[in-house]
């Protein structure tokens, strides 16, 4: 049992509350609290369960595969949600990769070691999504992650 606890701590990273991407469905409620959002009843689409969180200014969707782990998250709204909370242990890798020089201004795709992040939109309407390629269940359509 102790071993499991240690493993979870390692996944979540030192000093950072448990969060979502790559973790178990139970962490969705943790995000709801951290992001101060309401949670809608989950909806099943094929083998994927979609958990929806929202508040008036931004909405979040978390995509849970058959393994029970969240393999993708998506967001939309006036502002971006706290991606550090939403992406958990994958956030640092995204930020490191995103610090590479840009070639201008516009939508962006950032590929880090084990996570892909896409952002797009404009003022008052920001969108984005992140997924962990190694966790995407066979047959899942990434076009549905939004």
């Amino acid at each position: 049992m102790a071993g499991v606890v240690v493993a979870v701590g390692l996944i979540a990273g030192p000093g950072r509350a448990r969060a979502t991407l790559g973790e178990l469905e139970a962490t969705v409620d943790h995000d709801r609290v951290v992001l101060s959002m309401e949670r809608a009843p989950p909806a099943a689409r094929g083998g994927v369960v979609v958990h929806e969180l929202g508040k008036p200014t931004v909405s979040v969707r978390e995509f849970e595969g058959p393994s029970g782990r969240v393999f993708a998250v998506a967001w939309a709204g006036l502002a971006r949600p706290d991606l550090a909370a939403l992406m958990g242990s994958y956030h640092a890798a995204y930020r490191a990769a995103a610090s590479a020089r840009r070639t201008g201004r516009g939508p962006r795709r950032v590929e880090a070691a084990d996570v892909v992040v896409e952002t797009w939109g404009h003022g008052r309407d920001l969108h984005g999504r992140a997924w962990v390629p190694s966790l995407v269940p066979p047959g899942a359509n990434l076009d549905d992650v939004r």
Partner: protein, 403 residues
């Protein structure tokens, strides 16, 4: 006063009274007539020169970057500073200037007794963080308007953890600030006036999320203008298919308010929805679309079979088809009309000639189905009118886009 000035001074009121017919000589004769057509000494008060990667864009300028210059004053005083190298951005709202580029002392906007700071996000995942202050903003030869602006300062106060990747300095950003002249009066709107929102924070011991009244939010300075506040025209020249080293044009304030901003009868207005989008259809799929001078390409989900593949790293943000691809898109107002076709070309981004900084044919991929981001290439060679939300012009009630 020269004779030309006198003639204009007399005939502006006549035109305003006539309310909208195309002017005999002052009105634009055709799209793309922009750069140089009126000459650098033009004294029209509602014109800001726009430089696309020419003089006026600072160090770090990138492909298809439109730059303008604005004078910023301490409200009600003659203490002013002119800042150049500002990105002209129809995709965001409000003036934001890096603290490194502005030495003027400006009064803070407050909420609950503490100074207000903002974290505003952009399509590329970056953010601007810094205090909201009140400033007198002078656009071209217009009278100063006093509005809240943002000082971009990543080190300001106690930045919340949720404010990720704040732009550190002008060299990293590629500009000294952003002049956001999007379709709305404020950068956030009602959504931020009612509740904690992720954009605005009241700073004291730390910075805590706060609702903020509309009048305290960062404002579109164009909307505050007394005569020309109903919209604007972005007037940029066409460039050859091979591109150009730089281009110069104009940001003309107001629509149908003076001789130089009256749309000819051929111009069609496309109503925008609540977030400033119209619709674009491309090979069957119709998606939300927006016209954004602050995006430096045409960004969209490539239709299957179009040959539009991404370039090899590190240029994967751009399309590198085997050869240039011509596409036709359907442009439709948010309510379903009007609906017209626009033909555009996507060239091989990797094959742009050395020294080319302006191209009407660069684009890149977005997720499916995503949105169609009509960036700066869309504006090259056509006058694009943007009617502001809550205002009316000869083109109709805003928000609207027209060309």
């Amino acid at each position: 006063m020269t004779f030309a000035d006198l003639a204009r001074a007399i005939w502006i009121p006549i035109l305003a009274a006539a309310c909208g017919g195309p002017g005999p000589s002052g009105a634009p004769s055709s799209p793309g007539g922009g750069a140089g057509a009126r000459g650098p000494a033009d004294p029209a008060p509602n014109v800001l020169p726009v430089s696309v990667d020419g003089p006026g864009c600072g160090v770090g300028a990138y492909l298809d970057e439109p730059c303008v210059s604005v004078t910023i004053c301490a409200p009600g005083t003659a203490r002013c500073q002119t800042v150049d190298g500002l990105l002209l951005d129809t995709g965001s709202t409000g003036l934001r200037v890096f603290s490194q580029a502005l030495t003027l002392e400006l009064p803070a906007v407050t909420a609950g007794g503490g100074p207000v700071a903002e974290c505003i996000g952009y399509a590329d995942g970056s953010s601007d963080w810094g205090p909201v202050v009140r400033a007198g903003v002078v656009l071209g030869g217009e009278p100063a308007v006093t509005v809240p602006i943002q000082l971009i300062d990543a080190s300001y106060a106690d930045r919340p953890a949720s404010c990720q990747s704040p732009e550190p300095d002008p060299a990293t950003a590629g500009f000294n600030g952003i002049l956001g002249v999007g379709a709305f009066g404020e950068d956030c709107g009602e959504g931020c006036s009612r509740a904690d929102n992720g954009l605005y924070f009241a700073c004291g011991a730390g910075c805590a999320g706060t609702a903020l009244p509309l009048a305290s939010q960062v404002q579109n300075p164009v909307a505050a203008l007394p005569v020309d506040g109903n919209g604007l025209v972005v007037r940029l020249p066409s460039v050859p298919p091979a591109g150009a080293a730089s281009a110069s044009g104009q940001l003309v304030l107001g629509i149908g308010t003076r001789g130089n901003n009256v749309p000819p009868p051929s111009v069609l207005a496309y109503p925008l929805d609540g977030v400033g989008d119209f619709r674009t259809g491309l090979v069957g799929a119709t998606v939300p679309a927006f016209a954004d001078t602050g995006s430096n390409g045409l960004f969209f989900a490539p239709p299957a079979g179009s040959g539009l593949v991404a370039c090899a790293a590190p240029d994967a943000a751009w399309f590198c088809p085997p050869s240039a691809v011509t596409l036709t898109a359907t442009m439709t107002g948010a309510g379903g009309s009007p609906s017209t076709a626009v033909t555009f070309r996507i060239a091989v981004a990797d094959a742009l000639p050395a020294g080319v900084q302006v191209s009407a044919e660069v684009g890149g991929p977005t997720p499916v189905p995503g949105e169609f981001d009509w960036g700066l290439p869309f504006f090259l060679g056509r006058d694009v009118y943007l009617g502001l939300d809550g205002r009316t012009s000869v083109l109709g009630p805003g928000p609207l886009l027209a060309w």
